[in-house]
Each structure stands twice: as C-alpha cells, then as structure tokens.
C-alpha cells in the first residue's frame, strides 16, 4: 500500500516560493496500475521524487509498505530503493557499464550472491528482449533498448512497486507501445505500477486508474479514467 497523506512540497528559491505539490492525498493498493497525468509542472515528477526519497515533503506523510519515507535517514534510503524499481525518461543507465552490468549492479548493491546474479540477470534481459545485447554499452543501444535495460534493472530485485517517470518521453510511438506493453506485463505478474506521463494516447488505451494533477493539486481520481485536458 502506498499512502500520500496531505502532502505538500514547496521549493524555496531566495524569497521566491514554488508550490510543486499542494495538499495531495491518494492511496494506491497493491498490484494496481495507476497513471499520474497532468501538464508539465503539474507535480507528476514531484510525486515520483517523493516516492523514491529523492526529495522530502514540506508537509504531510508518504508511506510505502512498511517505510515512512519522510522519516527515513539517508543511511536507510538504499533499503527503500531496493524495494522500488524506478525508470526515468532519460534512462539513467551507468554509461561505463554494459547492459548486463547495469542490470547486475542493482543486484550487487542489494548484496545478492554471484550465483543469483548469474542466474537472474540473463533472465531479466531475456524478459525485455535484450539477451543478445548483454555486452553492449549504453552508447551502443537505441533509446528503446536503453529503456528496456532500465526496466530489466528496475525489476531485477523483484520490487513491490515499479515507478515510471515519463518512460516514453524520449521514444517513438512503436518503442513507446513496446515499453507500455512491458509495464502491463509486469503489472499482471503482481507488481504495482505507477506511471507518470503526459501522453494522452497511452493513458486512454490503458483504461486503468488515472490520477490527474494540476498546479500541484489532485483534481481527479478515476478507477477507469481517461486523460482529460482542461
């Protein structure tokens, strides 16, 4: 269960204040597929950053499973992040590591044994259809392939939640559709998926729960929603 309880995030820059999230409250049940939609600057990325502990809320409470995110100490943060798989618009792969090593790295930081790593890493790369490109470096992969490596990395530790921040933002429609198909597959296998996007087609075709954000506020939360432009 993910709980956002009256969460506000205010960025202060000298005397100027920017309200990124304004008293947002929503819950996400296990194994749900939720799309976070809204225009740029609506607060989608802020929600993602608060989920993975990259930022702390100014007010309110963020809970993921047994972790109260805003109470975590920096030293405890890695343990939360190993429970959440994250994929980003810009992939965030380690450029000096091969596809295989990028995926294996997430297992290594979690302290998994070499035997487990050798067993699961090829499986994960196979799942995203990149078994053949295991020894390629990110610079040798296309955008779609990079995002699939990122998904393999995010899923390798069997997280309870997969958080995707504009995962198709840098991809063409064909690759985007592939990535979304992968996310649906992952969700069907039992992982909660939170997808932040401003791609109307994707959201409308998914026909799943949609939380709409505007100016940092939750303006709509529908079980089988559509992307509605205001």
């Amino acid at each position: 269960m993910i709980i956002f309880q009256n969460v506000s995030k205010i960025y202060k820059n000298n005397s100027h204040e920017t309200i990124a999230l304004d008293d947002a409250t929503f819950h996400v049940k296990p194994q749900e597929f939720v799309s976070l939609v809204g225009k740029s600057g609506a607060g989608k990325s802020t929600v993602i950053k608060l989920l993975i502990g990259e930022d702390m809320p100014t007010k309110g409470k963020v809970v993921i499973g047994s972790y109260n995110v805003n109470k975590l100490k920096p030293i405890e943060m890695p343990y939360l992040r190993r429970k959440i798989g994250v994929i980003f618009q810009d992939f965030k792969l380690l450029n000096d590591k091969t596809a295989y090593e990028n995926v294996a790295f997430a297992m290594e930081v979690a302290g998994r044994t070499p035997k487990e790593i050798m067993e699961f890493t090829p499986q994960a790369l196979d799942m995203v259809g990149l078994k053949e490109k295991a020894s390629n470096f990110p610079r040798e992969l296309s955008g779609g392939e990079k995002q699939r490596v990122a998904i393999a990395r995010a899923m390798i530790n069997h997280p309870d939640v997969l958080v995707a921040d504009e995962p198709t933002g840098n991809l063409d429609p064909v690759n985007s559709a592939d990535i979304i198909k992968l996310l649906i597959k992952i969700n069907e296998l039992g992982t909660t998926v939170i997808l932040a996007t401003h791609n109307k087609d994707i959201v409308d075709n998914l026909n799943r729960r949609v939380i709409s954000l505007e100016d940092g506020k939750v303006i709509r939360d529908e079980e089988r929603g559509k992307y509605i432009l205001v």
Partner: protein, 302 residues
Amino acid sequence: MFTNFSRIIKYGFVGFWRNGWLSAATIAIMFLVLVGFGCLLIFSSVTNIFISDIQDKIDISAYFKTDAPEDEILKIKKALESLTEVKSIEYISRDEALKIFKLQHQADDTVSQALEELSVNPLSASLNIKARELKDYSVIASYLGKEDFKNFISKVSYTQNVKVIDRLKRIKGIVEQGGFVMIVFISLIAALIIFNTIRLAIYSNREEIGIMRLVGGSNFFIRGPYLIEGMLYGFISGVLSVGIISLLVYYAAPYLKIFVPGINGWGYYTARLSGFFMWQLAFGIGLGIISSYIAVRKYLKI
C-alpha cells in the same frame, strides 16, 4: 561483506581501466607534482650534506708558546675534553707540526734550507678542536681565553674564523627554516593540486554516482570503487615519480662531487631509497584516498 569488498575492488579496477584517459591524465598530474615534491626533498638533503661537509672542515686551533711544557698542554686538552660542546680534539706536538710542515714544503728548497739552518724547531704545538655545533665555537673560544691558560697559549684561531663561522651559522639557519617552510608550502600546493585533479575526475562521474544512489546503492558501496581508484592513482604516480627521480639522481650524482668531494651521492640515495619510496607512496596514496573520499561525498546526498 566479503562479496561486497571484492565487488568494490573489482569496480575500482574496472573503472580505472575503462576511464583510461581520465586515469592517465590524473596520474600524469599527480606524477609531476610528486616529482616536484621529491626533488625538493632531495634538494634539501643535498643542501644539508653540503653544509655539514663545510661544518666538518671548520675547527678552532689553540697554538701554544714554544716553551709550554707538554704535560700542561695535555692537561688543557683533558679540561677541554670535559666540555660538552667539544666533539673531538687533535693534539699536534711541535715535532709533528715540523713533520707536517716539511711534508707540505717538500718541493720548496728555500724553505727546507731555512729550516736546516735553524738549530731549533720554530713551530708551536697546537690543539685542533671541533665543536658539536657551530654555536659552540664561541663557548670554546672564550674558555681558551681564560687567565689560567694565558701563560701557555699564544694564539687562538677563532678570531680569524669567527666571520666564516658566523656566516655559516646564518646560512644553516636559513636553509633549515627555509627548507622546512618550503616543504610545508609545497606539500600544501601538491595536496591542493592532487585534490583538485581527483575532484575533476570524480566530477565527470557525478551523474553515475546519483544513479547508483537511485538504484539503491549504499554510500559505502558507491564510494568504495572511487577510493580504490584514488589509491591506484597514488600508487602508480608514486612508483613512477620514484623511478624518474632515481634516474635523475643516478646521472646527477657524479656532479655532486664537485661541491662535496668524496661523497657517493648514489650510495647516499640508495641507502635512503626505501624510506623515500615509502614516503612518496604514502603521500600519493594518502592524498588519492582522502581526495576521493571528500570529492565523492558531495554527490552522495541524493
């Protein structure tokens, strides 16, 4: 824990190898700094050798009246030997003085003839005294000037040497203090250059460090490989710097003999090589690790 350690070491080496150019550039700069630093250390020890060689040549001589009885001279010698400032005393009797004089003027016939015409030995007995420190010469000189000795001692050479001794004392002071200040100053500069070089190398990895945090890497796991890389930078540049300095010393040592006759510069260097090597390594590796530690910390805050 052991798996983590072996992964950290592996990633340290892999990172070092894959960022080959960056590693090479960092090592090149650290190498130059360490060579400069090592040369300064060697220069300061050469200066010290040079000064102590001159210091060894300085002594103070007390010349006795020709009628001073030998047992009185030996009494004075004994009294002098009890002074803590005195390092060694050499007694040259009148006969020995004559022998030395004859030997020195062997080729000069007029001197030999003049000596033969004299029926008595005109030379005085003397005590050549070496002090432990340059500043001790004035103490010894004033001791020799005591009333009790005036009946026997005709002349003390200190008054002639006092200027040289004073000048040497000043030079030694300047070299010691100046050398220390220079070493501290250059150490600081060396440390700053190395720190900034490593900081730049890690700056180019700042995104990677952030990504590692986001996929759940602990600070220990992320920082470890960078510390290994820093250590490798320090180790390699330390070894290279000692290598090139050894070559320099090997070829420069014969020229040292011009300033300090009889010195075996290469032998002096090799006798101290292990200490020097350890020092360069410790300096390089220590700075490599500390710089990496501080530089990575900044990017671990995500």
